[in-house]
Amino acid sequence: MRNLFVALVVGASVVPAAFAAKGAKPVLTVYTYESLVSEWGPGAEVKSAFEQTCGCELRWVAAEDGAALLTRLKIEGAKTKADIIMGLDNNLMAEARDTNFFLPYQAKWAKTLSLPVEWKDTVFTPFDYGHFAFMMDTEKVKTPPKSLAEFLDGKDWNKSLIVQDPRTSTPGLGMLLWVKSIYGDKSKEALEKLRKKTLTVTKGWSEAYGLFTKGEAPFVLSYVTSEAYHVVEEKSTRYKAVPFSEGHYLQVEVAGILKSSKQQELAKSFMDFLGDPRVQSAMALKNWMMPVIGKVATLPEIFIKLPEPGKSLLIDSGEVAKNRKAWVQEWLSHFRN
């Protein structure tokens, strides 16, 4: 059924495009990260749905990840071809805002925005969110820890977690901020204990999750929504997210319009389009993150059944930008052998 829908959408967008004069259409260039536009990401669906209404061509340009996006923007500066940057997150937001490259804009649907926390930013528009969580292999874990404290203080689980490096990976930074937001000034001991529970530290999410699915460790740092992937795509309940009573750290992914853009009206209409149920369902089913407009009727049941994060933890973006270097250094001093 979904395939039929996709075929119709694609067909509907291809046929008129074939008749339209080539080059007459304005082009909207959106910089984003790899996995969003890869063959399996939501990119293709978002593109075809948007092009149905905008009378334009949407061009994706991909960087490796959110952090690489920001770096790329800083290098290209005013010369950038991008009209929109899509895929920065709340941790990079303050730094991105400080570049002064972005045009403040509130999407028309901003009032219906539904996030676990109150959203105050006026420059960027959220398009999905997720909570960091430990994923567990139920073939190896019979009684999962109920809290981060239980995991860290327990006698079990030495060398059982695969985690990413906060210097090279967004989830890695998320783990560090998670510990910071729970333990605050006492994070020293917590990081020390976390070190003992860690099997290895990888460069990025892919390496970590790859090791995890090869059976190297019972836990990996990922997202609550990872569970949905295994249920929907693999019909498997072997891998589950572990709810922690302290709450889970939140990641909100955002898009922003560049001041240098020559297609500002088009860019604004794209931001308005991000709240469309089609976009939001693609984000859930292809990007494996939660939609930001509350319930999307077409989503599979598992998205409702995912473990409740309880409290959403979030450190203010400016605070993160200010302390990141020092915190990463602190992490590094504990994670030495």
Binding site: E34, S35, S38, E39, W40, G41, V61, A62, A63, E64, A67, A68, L70, T71, R72, K74, I75, E76, G77, K79, K81, K159, D165, R167, T168, T198, L199, T200, V201, T202, K203, W205, S206, E207, Y209, G210, L211, T213, K214, G215, E216, A217, S226, Y229, E233, W288, K325, Q329, L332, S333, F335, R336, N337
Partner: protein, 536 residues
């Protein structure tokens, strides 16, 4: 009148690769330099960075792992090279062909292969657990060294075996006539003959290990087991801290240069004249006919080497086949992506391989001709090529990005970066072979007065088929597996197989990724097998 290749033609031949190298390295590094001085406001911060405990630790570890990997690779390669050089045994050519394969695999693939072979739930790990031994083999510093040796040992074996095969036969025979014990022959004849190449290979391995990075992060288990390359990556990609990244890149360059200098010093004083090699073909005998202690030692070494090489490689095959049986790579989007990525990868690596091997040949041949008129200049030129060993692909790609301020020309830039990376290796492979061929052709040609182009094209190049192919294969492999430059520049226009591998994993498609790894290994492997077959 001197016939043959003139000094002028030599200069011309050297200048082509030299100019390209200067353009591909010099221009972007200049850009980096400018950026460094325009953005670095606080030089004391850089001093702090370099003297910080963390950077000190990273540099120490980088040196430790690179040195140990180099010593182990060469130390283990020496006995193996003797086995390969002096004995004929079934499967020898297969093993030698297979030996380049690790070089072509993206490091993430090798990391996963190691995990499947030696990890907690891998073959060896499960076996050990089965007999009651609960040990973690990976996730420590030794795992990093083992992975480095896996990459570099086969390469060292090939180069040393080639050198062993060129042992001066007369010396071996006279020492046999004198009734010297084998260990004295080894000490007085073989070791001096091999030493220069061995040190050379050690430095190559050392330089290659300086840049290893993804492996260290997956298998190391702890962030202090990181190399300077990860710190460079962090500053380039995450912090956009050009001064800090440039500083560390400079440190890495200095380390490589020091290594090259050690090499230079240890041989500069000794006789630099190339011994006229007499191919010791007559020394090669079937292994089956040797005395039993020799047989036992040789078969033992071959078995261990095969195991070391084949276990991780077969892990890729088993994992790939298992995934294919679970319908990996079955949907059309994945299939067409895999097809186009294969085309792009083969084109890119093929071009990089051809450019690098041809440029390296021009460089080597030109410098030999040049040495007739300017010996010191020619020698310095040969040292100069070491410089590009010390440049990290991450830094070079980033520097290109800085000067272009856009990712246009992606294919050309990636190609340039790959050629720069491969050129020193190709020069290293071609240098001894070209020296031999030139020495032989010079003698015969001087008498006949054959024009230079005919000497080069009709006499020398055909004689160099084998080393030229090896140079091509290594450059191909290096380009095929490289991912840092491709990830920075190529994501839109140049989607290579390793990049697609990352994309699949980024979309949770680990089964597809495993099947693609198999495809990657097969494509690369078949290029080598076809090439080796074609030579004979």
């Amino acid at each position: 009148m001197r016939s043959g290749v003139s000094v002028g033609l030599g200069a011309l031949m050297v200048s082509v690769p030299l100019c390209l190298l200067a353009g591909a390295i010099g221009w972007p590094l200049m850009g980096l330099f400018v950026e460094f001085f325009t953005t670095a406001q606080d030089f004391s911060a850089l001093g702090d960075l370099l003297s910080s405990r963390w950077v000190g630790g990273v540099i120490r570890f980088t040196l430790w792992q690179a040195t140990l990997s180099a010593l182990l690779s060469v130390g283990l390669a020496f006995p193996l090279a003797r086995v390969f050089a002096f004995h004929e045994f079934p499967g020898k050519r297969f093993l030698l062909s297979l030996s380049i394969l690790p070089f072509a695999l993206p490091s993430i693939l090798v990391a996963f292969a190691f995990v499947i072979a030696y990890g907690n739930s891998g073959y060896v790990g499960s076996l050990l657990r089965h007999v009651g031994l609960d040990v973690t083999l990976l996730y420590n510093r030794w795992a990093i060294v083992a992975a480095n040796v896996f990459f570099n040992l086969p390469f060292a074996v090939r180069l040393l075996a080639a050198r062993e095969a060129a042992l001066p036969r007369q010396q071996i025979q006279s020492s046999a006539l004198l009734g010297l014990p084998w260990w004295l022959t080894l000490w007085h004849v073989e070791l001096p003959h091999v030493a220069r190449v061995a040190l050379n290979v050690a430095i190559l391995t050392f330089s290659l290990c300086l840049g290893s990075f993804a492996i260290a992060m997956v298998l190391g288990g702890a962030p202090d087991l990181n190399t300077t390359e990860v710190a460079i990556y962090q500053f380039v990609r995450f912090e956009f801290d050009v001064p800090a990244a440039s500083c560390l890149a400079a440190v890495q360059l200095v380390l490589t240069l020091l290594a090259a200098l050690v090499y230079r010093m240890s041989f500069e004083r000794g006789s630099h004249r190339h011994q006229e090699p007499v191919l010791a073909g007559a020394l090669v005998r079937p292994l089956a006919g040797r005395a039993w202690p020799v047989q036992a030692f040789c078969w033992g070494s071959i078995a261990l080497y095969s195991l070391f090489l084949l276990l991780p490689l077969s892990a890729i095959v088993v994992d790939g086949v298992r995934s294919l049986m679970r319908n990996a790579l079955s949907d059309p989007a994945t299939r067409s992506a895999a097809r186009s990525a294969t085309t792009v990868s083969v084109q890119l690596a093929g071009l990089a391989g051809m450019s690098a091997s041809v440029l390296a040949w021009m460089y080597v041949r030109g410098s030999i001709a040049l040495s007739a008129g300017f010996p010191r200049l020619a020698r310095s030129l040969r040292q100069l090529v070491w410089l590009s060993m010390g440049i990290s692909p991450t830094v070079l790609a980033f520097a290109w990005f800085l000067v272009l301020r856009a990712t246009d020309w992606a294919f050309v830039v990636i190609l340039a970066v790959h050629v720069v990376l491969a050129l020193p290796l190709c020069v290293r492979i071609l240098l001894p072979a070209v020296e031999v061929v030139v020495a032989q052709s010079d003698r015969s040609v001087k008498l006949l007065g054959v024009p230079a182009w005919r000497i080069l094209v009709q006499i020398e190049l055909p004689a160099l088929r084998t080393p030229l192919f090896l140079a091509f294969a290594l450059a191909f492999a290096l380009s095929f597996g490289e991912v840092a430059a491709v990830a920075l520049f190529g994501s839109d226009e140049v989607e290579t197989l390793p990049l697609l591998l990352y994309r699949l994993m980024g979309a949770y498609r680990f089964h597809d990724a495993a099947a693609l790894s198999l495809l990657l290994a097969l494509v690369c492997g078949s290029v080598f097998f076809i090439g080796e077959r074609y030579q004979k």
